[in-house]
């Protein structure tokens, strides 16, 4: 009998065959292992994402939610409060307002890429993407670095990666995951306090000071939003960079085209976001009964929006399992969609493109070493823990 267990190592390693069965045979599927309904078709996921009133985020949006988080971050809040919070901070994440970050991002990319010169083999994650994403995040959020750093960057990175994982056996967050989350909150609280005392022209200062008609983020909202942004900037973006590196390593023709013509990188990034986003599955909670494909989902039930599956639905994208950098996959779900669509969309696109422009200048020819990758055990995200690349 078919089963879909988002905690299973087989799903971490390759969810796509499972998704296909879900889409074709069980488009509205109750998973006892996940304890929720699974929506796998593009159209159903988009409709759910748009209907935030029925598909609520206020009970948590991560497949395995962190304690105390639901209701205190943008992604886990419904309207009207969500719209107010998002309106207070989203201008800082618009493409046109990120222009000043281009140069610092390129400097970081160049420096980290240069450190790879002459290597015959390396772990892309440890030696490139982790360092890159932590530094970019620090630059973007105005987190203290260098002489002002309160902790090593590597520690911040390790905690960010730990807090998004879960225990595949217990199917919950283990003590180490909770501890990492608590550490991250303490760290963020310290930085916020410092910025409140000495505001600067950076994102954290903006959140703490942001005000619209007397309405401000409260202490808990500033803290949890900052914590989420650190998690997103390091883990989500780092995870996606590893997935993009994997695609570039495996699809040599596509990579060579991008090396010869770096202007193609933007399209390759979009195709990778469709093909294998790191943000595979998020959840919602039903505020009323919904009948779909002959199944009645009840009020209070959790529902998984399997973005990674919607992105491979041939009903939306013909020949979906082909990696095609000329596809230009409009409306893909790699950043989610609807009112909660990823706030970091523009910064992620900019950063990943610049990262690979610089990476390919130093390492244009490479391939994967491990036949099987060690996948992160996470019910929400998908990325490898290690990605060894051999330089040609």
């Amino acid at each position: 009998m078919f089963s879909f267990d988002p905690y299973a190592p087989a799903v971490d390693a390759n969810p796509f065959p499972f998704y296909k069965t879900l889409r074709d045979e069980h488009p509205c599927f109750w998973s006892p292992e996940a304890d929720m309904w699974i929506l796998s078709r593009y159209a159903d996921i988009v409709s759910a994402g748009q209907d935030a009133q029925t598909y609520s985020s206020a009970s948590g949006n991560l497949m395995t939610e962190l304690p105390g988080r639901a209701g205190a971050t943008l992604g886990t809040t419904d309207a009207p409060r969500h719209d107010r919070l998002r309106g207070l901070i989203q201008h800082a994440f618009m493409k046109r307002n990120l222009e000043s970050l281009s140069e610092p991002i390129r400097d970081i990319a160049r420096e980290v890429a240069e450190s790879l010169r002459g290597k015959k083999q390396f772990d892309f994650i440890n030696e490139f993407s982790s360092k890159f994403t932590v530094r970019v995040l620090f630059a973007a959020l105005g987190l203290p670095t260098g002489a002002e750093a309160t902790v090593p960057e590597s520690t911040v990175r390790d905690k960010a990666v730990m807090m998004v994982q879960s225990d595949p056996v217990s199917r919950t967050k283990g003590p180490e995951h909770i501890a990492a989350y608590n550490w991250m909150q303490d760290y963020a609280a310290g930085v916020i306090a410092e910025r409140r005392a000495n505001p600067r022209n950076d994102l954290i200062s903006h959140f703490s000071m942001a005000e619209i008609d007397g309405d401000k983020l409260d202490e808990r909202e500033v803290l949890l939003t900052t914590t989420t942004l650190i998690m997103a900037g390091i883990e989500s973006m780092g995870g996606f960079m590893a997935m993009f590196a994997l695609n570039m390593a495996d699809f040599a023709d596509a990579r060579r085209q991008c090396v010869v013509n770096p202007a193609l990188l933007a399209d390759a990034v979009e195709e990778s976001l469709r093909f294998n986003t790191s943000a595979q599955r998020f959840r919602r909670r039903l505020m009323k009964d919904v009948t779909l494909h002959g199944q009645t989902m009840k009020t209070g039930d959790f529902v998984c929006l399997a973005y990674g599956s919607g992105n491979r639905d041939e009903r939306q994208y013909p020949n979906p399992d082909a990696y095609d950098i000329t596809r230009k996959p409009r409306g893909h779900l790699g950043f989610g969609g609807g009112v909660h669509a990823c706030l970091g969309t523009a910064i992620a696109r900019l950063s990943v493109k610049i990262a690979f422009e610089e990476f390919h200048k130093v390492i244009p020819e490479y391939k994967r070493v491990q036949e099987q990758l060690p996948w992160m055990p996470s019910s929400t995200f998908r990325s490898p823990l290690v990605l060894e690349l051999a330089v040609a």
């Binding site: 988009v46 719209d83 939306q316 409009r330 409306g331 609807g338 009112v339 990823c342």
Partner: protein, 83 residues
Amino acid sequence: MQGATANGVDGILGECGGSCACATCHCYVDEARLADLNAPTDNELAMLDNVAAERRPGSRLACQIKTSAALEGLIIHLPEMQE
């Protein structure tokens, strides 16, 4: 916006995925029909300040227009540029 991107209509970008955060799904609605649409929120009105092309009384962000029977026969015009 969903209808446009799913059906390959050029001229609407929707870079932020429909979260009213990028102003690249700008469209012009005939003023006579504006009342048939769901009213813009404060967020949408604020974001309309960021459109790349001329902002007009009929300017709306496509991602914020909810389809309904009241939109029957509605014609949308697209601006010359979205960014």
